[in-house]
């Protein structure tokens, strides 16, 4: 496990404990499974125009949180998504490198009414490329944590007293660049990610 990933997981665990500690009696936990779409990370022109863009990635996530009142709750979300970074030209596409994306957000959720929630989060994102062949890609140097912001909405329905199931639609934004791209003269680009996930949620808070 890389140092960056360890740092992310440690920070996530500490933040979760901090969030849950003041109200030990009321906690919520979530598991999510879904898919992430990412916008183009790089546009380039060498002989022909092409882009580098992650393919749609299956994603998994865990969240721990606590209610902040009847309408609000705060949670720490940690997500994992993995797909291939693709080089796309007008008439072809090929894999550059398998790419994992780790994200961690502190998310504030606001319950609009019984079934609908909106959410906003701040956090960080880390690209974690496969080791094999990494030297010949834009990810050849260490990948720092990148600050990110997120917005989203969710529809939730009760399964039982403490379990709910939901459909979560989220969007996040971060600045994308790498040391190799900067050395080549590329500027930071705003990258967007859109996620759609099914969420299973457990909470011991009273409805």
């Amino acid at each position: 496990m890389s140092a960056g990933r360890r740092t992310l997981i440690l920070a996530a665990s500490l933040a979760a404990l901090t969030a849950a500690a003041p109200c030990r009696a009321q906690v919520l936990a979530e598991f999510r499974i879904g898919a992430d779409w990412s916008s183009v990370l790089v546009s380039d022109l060498i002989v022909d125009e092409f882009t580098a863009q992650p393919a749609i990635a299956p994603s998994l996530g865990l969240a721990l949180g606590t209610p902040l009142g009847p309408k609000y709750e705060v949670a720490l979300d940690v997500r994992w998504a993995r797909s291939d970074l693709k080089m796309k030209q007008a008439d072809s596409s090929r894999t550059i490198i398998p790419l994992t994306v780790w994200t961690g957000f502190i998310t504030l959720r606001w319950r609009l009414h019984g079934h609908a929630l909106v959410q906003a989060g701040i956090g960080a994102l880390k690209y974690d490329p496969s080791e094999e062949g990494r030297e010949s890609t834009m990810f050849r140097d260490d990948q720092p944590l990148r600050p990110a912001v997120a917005l989203g909405a969710r529809a939730e329905y009760p399964l039982s007293g403490s379990l709910r199931v939901g459909l979560d639609l989220g969007w996040s934004m971060h600045g994308f660049s790498t040391q190799a791209l900067s050395e080549e003269g590329f500027e930071t680009r705003i990258a967007h990610r859109v996620s759609l996930a099914a969420v299973l949620r457990w909470s011991n808070a009273k409805p």
């Binding site: 060498i46 002989v47 022909d48 090929r94 062949g133 917005l151 190799a180 080549e184 003269g185």
Partner: protein, 215 residues
């Protein structure tokens, strides 16, 4: 209804930010990578990576090849070329050896380059395969030799020359006209320059006319 307005403003800002498509940077002027503009182009196909190097296990040659291989891989952004060392010469794409014996061990230094070694990359004459495509009938070979001199000068020279010869094996068959480039003659650079980089990038985004040898 301030909250929905704030959310809408953030979304709009995000969307606008995403519409800015950063400009593609200008790159150094590439040089001609073919011996003649009429020659066919060769580069390693992306679906054949990594390129497999067999290196005579003698002296520091494997270290020089690894350094050269990695320094060329680092000229790319999109996984166009990378290589690995293999122990089976029959399964290799490129064979690297000394013409004679290994020189005495010596560390690499920053001393000025001395021309106390040479290298040769042998590119086989491509032949038509059964499907009519041009293909190399055998692996590419690199051989290096050294002359009597200070062992440190020999080590420094061999490291540079091996990296230069790997450039030929990548498909840069011509020499650079720019004296500071790794692909120039005499070899004074330790690693690819920006001009070498843009030439390699241009080559690896061109259509290859020749397929590599397949064991």
């Amino acid at each position: 209804m301030r909250s929905p307005n704030v959310v809408a403003a953030v979304l709009l800002l995000g969307a606008l930010a995403g519409c800015q498509d950063p400009e593609v940077p200008s790159r150094a002027q590439p040089y001609e990578f073919r011996l003649s503009p009429a020659d066919p182009v060769f580069r390693w196909p992306s679906d054949d990576l990594p390129v497999r190097f067999w290196v005579e296990p003698s002296g520091a040659l494997p270290e020089y090849v690894t350094t050269g291989m990695v320094s060329w891989a680092r000229q790319f952004l999109y996984g166009e070329f990378w290589g690995e060392l293999v122990s089976d010469s029959l399964a290799a794409d490129i064979l690297v050896s000394y013409l004679d014996e290994a020189p005495p061990d010596a560390p690499l230094t920053d001393d000025p380059p001395q021309q106390v070694c040479t290298g040769t990359t042998t590119i086989p004459l491509p032949q038509r395969d059964v499907e009519g495509r041009l293909r190399f009938p055998e692996p590419i070979t690199i051989s290096v030799r050294w002359f009597s001199a200070d062992p440190t000068d020999i080590a420094n020279c061999l490291q540079r020359v091996v990296a230069h010869e790997i450039g030929h094996a990548l498909g840069i068959f011509a020499h650079s006209p720019n004296a500071g480039d790794l692909m120039a003659i005499p070899v004074v650079a330790r690693e690819p320059s920006r001009s070498d980089r843009s030439t390699a990038q241009l080559l690896y985004h061109s259509v290859s006319d020749i397929l590599p040898y397949r064991p």
